[in-house]
Subunit: 225 residues, 2 copies
Amino acid sequence: MRMAELSGRSGVPTATIKYYLREGLLPRGRRVNATQAEYGEEHVRRLRLVRALIQVGRMPVTAAREVLDAVDDASLSQHERLGTAAWALPRPVPPGQAGTGAGDTGDADEAGDAASARHEVAALLDRLGWQEAGPDSPPGQALTAAVAALTRLGYPCDAAHLTLFARAAERMAAAELDLLESFPDQAAQVEASVALTVLYEPVLLSLRRLAHVEESARRFRAEEE
Amino acid sequence: MRMAELSGRSGVPTATIKYYLREGLLPRGRRVNATQAEYGEEHVRRLRLVRALIQVGRMPVTAAREVLDAVDDASLSQHERLGTAAWALPRPVPPGQAGTGAGDTGDADEAGDAASARHEVAALLDRLGWQEAGPDSPPGQALTAAVAALTRLGYPCDAAHLTLFARAAERMAAAELDLLESFPDQAAQVEASVALTVLYEPVLLSLRRLAHVEESARRFRAEEE
């Protein structure tokens, strides 16, 4: 298909497609003459992923390009490429934000909190039998930072509770991998794993808030009436 | 306690405490003479919540103040005050980001996607028996925007999958309400519900990514070896 059809199929204006081509977010089409190129289904699919990262995930262009480079890295096995979402996407909490808040005192305390949070995360992963990504992997570090923030602020964050969350995450991951396996080929699966990781985060967080409201009504409304 | 002890107990420098007082994020202490005020446990607790919102949740001061005003609204019942987290916290996806991405064409298509996403969310809440917060509540709107983004980009977002996520969210909410009930009084419970909503979001998202890596290894590594 030509640029105009690619724009129609993807809902992305041609000016934006040209910008993505210049920025290396979309591979060039197959050139058919001096001014025109031919695009395929892989371009339609890639445009979806780019929109998921930039428009919904609000990633800067540079960060999106790094993620896409990892997605396209043909030197990796399919299993490794499916790890791209967990490894290359920006963390749920940027480093430093949860770990060392501006205006905090007590650097020694914080280092202690970080070390004990890392220990707690390592013990959790051990208990769960999760052996693929340790506490020093990007998602492991994000979890450690989040646990350290809870501890430092004096909020509860016990092993039983973390385990319950992790078991819920396991069930979700199994269902999401089922979804991924419905995509036609390995390249499409890798792209979808990145897009679904980003696009399902707000789904999950919204559902959690809705579930809180329900549970709170069940427990506290009856008391009040 | 005096300002210096409040600073020591909370780990927040006195200059920052004074700033929070000026901005109305922390209630004034009880004045004991012309230059000094006395602070209580409620100030220690409130400083924790302020840090959770501003340092970890990265909320602007104005938004944090609005959340705290809702937390303090004595005209509401305990059940309604516990809804503050879901109602007053910024949404997982800011309005407009997922709904109407910059550079999109096809306004009519988008309006159609939004309407069908709202219908899908309403049907989901109905099926789940969740009656407290409809599709037009803040968390309902956030879910609708996230579902609309998935649909518009052509990624799967079926009822079975959403239901599975919602059931996982229900289990987490029950455990989190257990945690809340361990706080000593109603005011502390309301503050903790807001802080835990914010602080557990990165925990949940990190665990989901870790679970993906595990599940992907189980399914794809074996095939490759």
